[in-house]
């Protein structure tokens, strides 16, 4: 097997949120050795929903979030609050390229930790992900995924205008912050490789998400417009650009250019819409959205998702089915692309995404998320600790190791 892009890179993940875990997962899927350093009580992510039953009798349901986010990684259990635990951590850090950590409302503790981590290794990149970042007025604010959507301006513009603002269906604010963290961390590592100088990388989720507005911020700074919720429609410039009901569910249409609009009208055998003055541009169609939808509804509602998408894609009109998650799991496109892996601890029908992109077509072998402390011995030995030292840490309750028998 060819080597993976980040073969030889060592990452230690001290974080306890979705953002940190997804950041280190990205490193793992391109070949880095990622070790999750868990407190002796286990990572809080082991309790994160969804809790999913396993087929083995007597086992409690396990966190799907942990199983997904920490796949492809190893686990060490170490109390780094203890002096000897910290010295063991220093041994690991000395040979690491990157530490990822997180905090929630306690920037001073995070900064104090940064001092000893980077003192242990001047070339180290330390990425810290939190709700609001290490600096600024709100650095001591605590956050949840919901409040991250709220603080960054995304919540206000999602959902129906006549109802309350709506969050995304999963902790995607955390995922996006994790992506931003990974980009910052790897660019800092490229800098460190050239200069020998590590860096602190500080990502606040509010700011990371505020950086992912399409045109909302520009609407205000260029025209003073407060962007509003539009439900399943685009509220300003494009229509149809969103969900439409068809015979057996919903489709998404994404018409942005005049050519796409004309092709769509012809595909529906409604060429008269092209010259209708109410519908001349996307903006006109937004303003007359109800009238427009009433005119295309008969054609759409007489057809299935598959029929609508086939007709529109043949005419090069951006469109797609709205699938339910179970349909996505059976989607031929994703099947053909070999996206799925099976974490067998949940049974043989379990499926989840494996590697989101493959550099040069290379993917790591799938490795299930580690059992708690499964790799403590191996990782500490690799760092050059003597077996007697490791035994002592375990005996003093500073580290924990899982043996084959327990597993």
């Amino acid at each position: 097997m060819a080597r993976l892009a980040l073969d030889g890179v060592r990452v230690l993940d001290l974080s306890d949120n979705v953002a940190g875990a997804y950041a280190s997962r990205l490193f793992a899927v391109v070949g880095a050795d990622v070790v999750v350093v868990e407190p002796l009580g286990g990572s809080p992510l082991r309790q994160a929903p969804p809790l999913i039953s396993t087929p083995r009798a007597g086992r409690r349901p396990e966190s799907g979030a942990f199983a997904y986010l920490h796949a492809y990684k190893r686990s060490v259990a170490l109390n780094i609050g203890d002096a000897s635990g910290r010295s063991a951590m220093v041994r690991l850090v000395a040979r690491a390229d990157l530490v990822i950590s997180s905090f929630d409302g306690t920037p001073d503790i995070a900064l104090a930790r940064d001092v000893w981590l980077r003192a242990a290794n001047p070339g180290l990149v330390h990425a810290v992900v939190s709700g609001y970042g290490l600096t600024g007025l709100k650095r001591r604010w605590v956050s949840s995924d919901l409040t991250d959507w709220a603080s960054s301006g995304h919540l206000y513009i999602t959902g129906f205008p006549e109802r309350e603002p709506l969050q995304g269906g999963g902790p995607w604010a955390g995922y996006a912050a994790g992506l931003t963290t990974a980009v910052g961390a790897l660019s800092a590592m490229l800098g460190a490789r050239a200069s020998g100088k590590g860096r602190l990388v500080d990502v606040g989720t509010m700011e990371a998400l505020a950086g992912l507005h399409q045109w909302s911020l520009v609407h205000f700074t260029h025209q003073g417009v407060i962007k509003q919720r539009g439900g399943n429609r685009h509220v300003e410039s494009f229509h149809p650009m969103g969900l439409q009901q068809v015979k057996d569910g919903w489709v998404v249409l994404g018409v942005s250019t005049q050519a796409q609009y004309e092709s769509m009208c012809i595909a529906m055998e409604l060429p008269e819409l092209i010259t209708d003055e109410r519908f001349l541009t996307g903006g006109h169609r937004v303003d007359h959205g109800e009238e427009f939808d009433a005119l295309i509804a008969p054609w759409l509602r007489a057809r299935t998702r598959a029929e609508v998408v086939e007709a529109f894609q043949a005419a090069r009109v951006p469109s797609g089915k709205v699938l339910t998650l179970d349909e996505t799991l059976a989607d031929p496109q994703l099947e053909a692309r070999a996206l799925w892996v099976t974490p067998e601890r949940f049974g043989l029908r379990a499926k989840m995404p494996g590697v989101p992109f493959a550099i040069g077509g290379e993917r790591p072998l799938f490795r299930e998320a580690p059992q708690f402390a499964a790799d403590t011995l191996a990782v500490l030995l690799e760092a050059g600790m003597a077996p007697a030292e490791i035994d002592k840490l375990i005996a003093e309750g500073v580290a924990a190791a899982r043996t084959e028998v327990e597993a």
Binding site: W141, S144, A150, L166, L200, Q223, A336, A350
Partner: protein, 435 residues
Amino acid sequence: MNGLLNGVRVLEFGMAWAGPLAARLMGDLGADVIKIERRDARGAGRGWGSQDTAEAERSAWQWGKLPGPTFRSGIFPDADPGQHPWNRAGIFNKMNRNKRSLCVDLKVPAGWKVFELLVRSADVLLDNLSPLGVDGLGIDAARMQLLNPRLIRVSMSGFGATGPDRNNVSYGPVVEGASGLASATGYEGGEPMKMGVAFPDPVGGLHGAFAVLAALWERERTGVGTAIDLSQLETYTSIAGELLLQTSVEGRPPPTRGNRSRRFAPQGVYRCAGENSWIAITVRSDKEWIAFVEETGVAALSSREYASLEGRRVAHDEIDAAIGSWTSGFEQGELAERMQRQGIAVSPVLTNKGVVEDPHLRERGFIVEWDQPEVGSRTYGGFPIEFSDRDRPQMCPAPGLGEHNREILEELGFDAQAVDQMERDGVIATSPTGP
């Protein structure tokens, strides 16, 4: 300027958002990003063909109002497309700072020759076209790497370069549908819902940027470039791994949850004083619940049955009603500060205006301003990462169409006469062809 990617040259064929965002991140970090633009300037967001302006609509516009429909999509400063609308579109300008623009016709031999020279000088060639678009331009990985074996060639199409749906035309909302994530989003028991922004675009763009950085890291070892075939559909499903896993095991998707949490209770979005003003609240433990109830002083919330998570889940509707009637008497910012002092995760639901004016983001240096020819000085969202040297990237204004034609061609060794000739022949240009 932090310049972590100084010396890296990126060629971008970016449409809409995902591709331009990936390249912009690299430009912010110091890479030399050259945006290769079509002679008709279509698809890049330079006004989406809205050059045909309506004077009556313009004169009727007031600050704070959506402009008339004809020229709304470009988001021009003060709703004025000006003489060269393609250089004034806010949606283009915010997405393309820290880049240079080369507007060149690749369909003519002289233009292709320029492009070949550029490819030989580049480290990365990035697009977010469909595979048909890639073939149409002749910029597939095999052909490009013959020109430059060190080139990192990343394609970021909607569905990927292989598989039955590879040639589907796609925008972000299409991927929201196909991934199942629109179905996973919605009010409790409600219909599927798209996000307020086309969220698959930035998710794909960030994955793309990370992939390129990893490939740059690898190239230090191998000395040769690589190809990355990224599917926005796959990157978007990758932010819902745990929901897909749960669905596979349980045989059906979990019900939509509205604004509630699968882990904590109560959690919700509640009305505040003022029009369309809201606050988001998550109470994450029994201890936080006690502090929350004390801070509100609402008797109805102090029921002993609500002391446990299970009790609060069962009575979530009643609790929501009591919280909502209490919050509606307060201003959102004041209430959030009060609750944050008690260590409770609360945030005002900020509008776009609220984000731009937020004192925290301003203190962090995220909100930036730049002065751009043909636009003037405007405020934008900046770079979302703070490095230890507190050195945020410089903001070079977005380029006008073809603004760097001459500069780039001269760097490639063309003399002034040759550039003039290409201008006369329409091989390069600074204004778009066609309607």
